[in-house]
């Protein structure tokens, strides 16, 4: 894939926020070069803290900084930042509704050759279930910047899911992120593709493939997974009568589950999930793994045909 990685927005945006006078601080766990918080560290050395390889302590320290009135961002990789420190996130950050903004990088299979131990596919599920936690999964670099900015300016805990690999540009510079609002990127009549993260680009590519087959697909970026824009998604489902959810995450507990819950209660229609089917990741090249795990545009188009075929005529 091409374009800038969402993680590249992290350190840069923290610097911008600090310049604007927002009281941001950052805590990382020996991964500041990979997460890009090192950029913030060099601009604001006294507002950056490296806890070493100690993710539980990273979250706990950020919580304390938030109690002291700071807007505390945390780094590390998605797998360690969520799983390793889950109780700290639940019982300290969320239970106390603290201004801790988790923005770990290296989510999903596009982590690549490091393999299954490092490809976090369950983080949306883990974070979505926590009371008060907002979960944002930006589609590109500009959306990531916007998500970080809005999280910094909105009280309470946030999870912003960032990736390692470069992704195609979807949004213009200056795009503003609205919490709880899904963006309809393309109008269609036959099927709705609801996606998040880098799967937004795959869904847009799938819509092109479907057009050639005479199928009109609506594409929605549901970057705000929690709160979810139920209204927009249900309205689109009512119009098209078939929905496919697309995510670089397990099909269990993530965007697909959130959309299924929303549709089940509001607008039941034939529904398919594109995601990793209850297995761990594996070593390989990022693009190759999107194919391997059935996350490429062609797979999305195939799932769309399946959902359309299940409509009651």
């Amino acid at each position: 894939m091409s374009g800038r990685a969402t993680r590249e927005a992290f350190g840069e945006t923290l610097v911008e926020l600090a310049v604007e006078g927002i009281d941001v601080v950052a805590v990382d766990a020996d991964l500041s070069k990979s997460t890009t918080t090192a950029k913030f560290a060099s601009a604001y050395p006294d507002r950056f803290f490296n806890v070493g390889i100690a993710e539980q302590n990273m979250i706990g320290t950020a919580a304390g900084l938030a109690v002291a009135g700071k807007v505390a961002f945390t780094g590390s990789f998605a797998v360690f930042a969520t799983g390793r420190a889950y109780d700290q996130i639940r019982n300290t950050v969320c239970y106390s509704e603290l201004d801790v903004k988790l923005a770990p990088t290296h989510s999903g299979v596009t982590v690549g050759p490091d393999g299954g131990s490092h490809q976090m596919l369950e983080d949306i599920a883990l974070m979505r279930v926590l009371p008060g936690m907002r979960v944002l999964v930006p589609a590109d670099y500009n959306a990531a910047k916007a998500a970080i900015r809005v999280a910094a300016k909105t009280p309470g805990p946030f999870y912003i899911r960032l990736g390692r690999a470069g992704v195609p540009q979807v949004y213009e510079d200056g795009f503003e992120f609205e919490i709880g609002r899904a963006n309809v990127l393309r109008d269609g009549w036959d099927v709705t593709l609801v996606a998040c993260g880098l799967m937004v680009s795959q869904a847009l590519a799938a819509a092109e493939i479907l057009t050639e087959a005479g199928i009109s697909a609506e594409v929605i970026d549901a970057a705000s997974i929690k709160p979810l824009d139920v209204e927009t998604i249900a309205a689109s489902a009512a119009k098209t009568g078939a929905v496919v959810a697309c995510e670089e995450h397990s099909i269990i507990g993530g965007l697909g589950s959130a959309v299924a819950e929303a549709l089940g209660e509001n607008q039941p229609v034939p529904f398919r999930r594109v995601g990793v089917r209850d297995v761990f990741g594996t070593s390989g090249d990022g693009d190759e793994l999107l194919e391997h795990f059935g996350l490429a545009a062609g797979h999305v188009a195939e799932a769309a045909r399946g959902a359309i075929g299940a409509k009651v005529r």
């Binding site: 020996d30 991964l31 490296n50 390889i53 539980q56 393999g115 131990s117 490092h118 070593s283």
Partner: protein, 283 residues
Amino acid sequence: MAAFDLKLVQAKAARMRRDIVEMIASAGSGHPGGSLSAADIVATLYFGGALTHDPARPDWSERDRFVLSKGHAAPVLYAALAEAGYFSRDHLKTLRKLGSILQGHPDCKKTPGVEVSTGSLGQGLSIANGIALGLRLDHSPARVYCLLGDGELQEGQVWEAAMFAAHNNLSNVTAIVDHNGLQIDGACDDVLSVGDIDRKFSAFGWQVFEADGHDPSAIIDRLDEAASIKGAPSVVVCRTVKGKGVSFMEGLCDWHGKAPSAEQTVQACDEIATLIDESEVAL
């Protein structure tokens, strides 16, 4: 325990270093620094008689266990396992590729000879303790060795495990620390000082030994002493150089997690070749 032959262990370590550099180069990614710093330690375990093991029977119940807690150093383990004959050397060039038995971090469901999957730092010592408890319940004389990074010691779980091993008198556990002084974001002392590792383990009730981590004779002597300790777990703190054996990688954080270019690989292998005495290696 097989007899210790210094020349043999050194030759094996050199071959492992070459394999480490070549497999990471062909993968295009991976962790050379911490693999090279541990090469002499792992060679001493597998080829110096420290580990009782049988490559033809990876699940032999009486084998000693090795847990690579610093899982990112998978290449050093793969090099040793291939050299010992757990699997064909042909696999080495498939490292980190789709479908390979050699994953970016050790995967016990895919690689013969890997006891348990690792890659999330800080967890290996707890696993080693659990294995040691199980072996003790089964009245097995087998021992458990666990290799940790020095940066890895920053994980709190390591010290929870350290406390547990001493409390339970796990004398069948020997931890080995690859004390190369570096992690990813810089020197351990700059990122988060680990302090006096010897005194920390000692205060936690461990028998502490020190060795030059690039001198197999010293390593085997300390491991032998550690194995004779009764009533307490033991740790051998090995002073090492990250990237050891490749001049342009030595002592540099930059080489923690990146692959050498084609020219760099040639240079590295030329340097390592001068260390390999083929006549010493039983093929």
